[in-house]
Amino acid sequence: MDSVILARWQFAIVTVYHFFFVPLTLGLSVFIAIIESIYVKTGKEKYKRMTKFWGKLFLINFAMGVATGIVQEFQFGMNWSEYSRFVGDVFGAPLAIEALLAFFLESTFLGIWIFGWDRLSKKMHAAAIWIVAIASNLSALWILIANSFMQHPVGYVIRNGRAEMTDFFALVFNSHVWVQFPHVFASAMTTAAFFVIAISAYHLLKKSDDMQVYQKSFKLASIYGIIGVILVFLIGHAQAQYMVKTQPMKMAAAEALWNDEDPAAMSLFTIGDEHNRKDIFAIRIPYLLSILAHNTPSGKVSGINNLQTEYEQKYGAGNYVPPVAISYWTFRMMVGAGVLMLLLVLYALFKVLKDKYDFSPFVLKLFLWSLALPYIANSTGWIFTEVGRQPWAVFGVMRVEDGVSNMVGAGAVVFSLLVYALLYGALMVADVFLLKKYAVAGTVNIDNNEE
């Protein structure tokens, strides 16, 4: 394998792994901040126990997110040095700002929150977790500003053999950011909601002590979750329509749409021949893709072959088609997991709004296992959005293979890949062990640290 393929695998693995932890941090920090605010307002001890219980799980997850995040900042220079040289003038800025504005706030106030239970007033302590929540999401915003430049480059000019920033505000107010960031935030809410629902369901199933905490958590998470899921769908729809305009090839790949169609049919299930770009077997719903793309039953949606021809004229000879099967199936897994979550959270909400928690054991187990759903949706969503951009690193500006470090050989990448894989595997075992241990232990003795 050549070093480009290895570097791509490495980027994919460390980034997807990092993103196992990030959405929970983003969503759960806000959720905990809300609960602690309720505690401050009502003074009821059960909200304090809730804050501490979910807080402990939050911290275990947070540590993994922070630790694996360091690789993210280093790897552009390490493995993608030509990319860093070419776009650093534009792309480096949001990363630096992320550290200065968000990482400092997040890390400092998290320290204050962990150690400040007895040293700060209740209000100040709750303010600390709000600052952590805002800072975490601020960091997501800046990294998505950077990613949005790769998806939809704006505010730059090619000069002196590289991309140079010409308009900082164009970069920050890139239209792509304002569909992508809300999508990520709403997904993070959903992830946190299902995390809380799953673990609460476990305790409802086991009839653990301190039932009121799990019932309350279950209820609040259902409300939090329904807001999250509905936002994901609404924003996701807007994002898809945006994608039709800015990255039509990604949309075509998501639908395995080989040729232009007007009106366009949506694929429900396709087994395709990627090499020859044709369907082997497909179930398709007429008009639906046009409706989704343009809100009317007519309107062209571009196909892969037509776009390929168009891009050859625009960018020169080359293959501009992303891996279709990966795009198609990851997109469906994301949406499918989203639909399941919508159904589950609707059912949960229907019950808990009447304050009924008499779920059957089967349903409670279903909620427990549904913990996998947000993780599937988050991972496949990102794989889709990054794979669907191929062959570009920066859409229309720089190809992935031109960005790789030309002095880092395949041997070095194999070495780092092995180190990360072994390390990440071992840490996952430790992380799951601790999360499970504290999730099962529940709120009993939550104030006692282990001696």
Partner: protein
């Protein structure tokens, strides 16, 4: 002063702050397994940096981000060139990052011992490698006309850089011992004072040895200045201050040593950011490695607004958690 110089200075400040702050975190981590066999006392030691270490590490992340934004070629050449060394660094930082949180979460002695050694390893490796990296920046590494690093991993492990690594390792360990002396009570405090006084002499030898080596191997001292003298005098005073049990002053002086040594290296580098050992003309400088004037201007405005705010609230946390930690404190970790 042009903006390129401003950004060079800001990155120098970020590294100075990082070595000053994370320096004692590393030192505490390195000393952890040797200070006490008792779990409770090890917890005291970890809790002295519990609130601070993550915020301190962000100084590095910000320095890295600032290099990327202001000097993309520096970031690209250094990070791809020092690839294998950085893999070890990342391995250490990742392991260390989770250790503080994970260690206290189970009381099995084997589990705790595992994470104690992870903290040790995660602190030892970067404490050593930062000296190696800094020494190589100023000594010069093979960089060709296209700003590509053409050496391998073992080019970085030359005798000069290894002495630099040992100097930073010993200096951070000493700094950590003095910090522990300042933040703990009773026998942990007393032990850390003994450790600090024992570390002082070897540290002097290594740091001065590195300075002498630098005089012959680099052009670091070609620009005359008082910064190396300040660093040297401060380090000399540390031994006396430890002896007199003046923990606060000893900490300030070990901090001054680290800060002025870092400033000396950056002044020696200026206006270069990486020296090419192949051809002086191929060195990366604050001009040929930099971003465009527009980007530097934007980043200057942002840094000017937010850096003071960061300094204020970080200082505030040190104030809130200024109390010494003892076995009777609320130990979170």
């Amino acid at each position: 002063m042009d903006l390129n110089t401003v950004w060079f200075s800001l990155i120098a400040v970020l590294f100075t702050g990082f070595f000053f702050l994370e320096g004692f975190d590393y030192g505490v981590g390195i000393l952890l397994p040797f200070m006490s066999k008792e779990d409770k006392k090890r917890r005291v030691i970890i809790n002295t940096i519990g609130t601070f270490w993550d915020g301190n590490e962000v100084w590095l992340l910000t320095a890295g981000g600032a290099m990327f934004a202001a000097f993309p070629n520096w970031y690209a050449t250094m990070f791809s060139g020092f690839y294998i060394a950085l893999v070890f660094m990342l391995l250490a930082l990742i392991v260390r990052g989770v250790s503080f949180e994970f260690r206290s979460k189970d009381k099995n002695p084997a589990w705790r011992s595992l994470w104690d050694w992870a903290i040790f390893f995660g602190s030892f490796v970067p404490a050593l490698l930062w000296g190696v990296a800094m020494a190589n920046l100023i000594r010069g590494v093979p960089i060709d006309a296209n700003m590509n690093y053409t050496g391998g991993f073992f080019n970085l492990l030359n005798p000069y850089a290894l002495v630099g690594g040992l100097a930073s390792l010993s200096m951070f360990t000493l700094h950590g011992a003095i910090f522990l002396n300042l933040k703990t009570t009773d026998d942990v405090r007393e032990k850390s004072r003994v450790v600090a006084s024992k570390l002082w002499l070897p540290t002097i030898v290594l740091v001065l040895g590195f300075a002498v080596f630098s005089y012959f191997s680099t052009d670091m001292f070609s620009k005359r200045g008082v910064t190396p003298i300040v660093a040297g005098l401060a380090l000399l005073s540390v031994g006396w201050l430890i002896k007199k049990d003046r923990g606060g002053w000893a900490f300030i002086m070990s901090g001054v040593t680290i800060a002025f040594a870092t400033i000396t290296v950056f002044l020696g580098l200026f206006p270069r950011v990486m020296v090419s050992s192949l051809n002086e003309a191929w060195s990366l400088t604050i001009y040929n490695a930099s971003s465009s004037p527009y980007t530097l201007k934007v980043m200057t405005i942002i840094a000017a607004i937010f850096t003071p705010i960061v300094l204020v609230y970080q200082a505030w946390t040190y104030w809130i958690f200024r109390k010494r930690i003892s076995v009777d404190s609320d130990l979170e970790y």
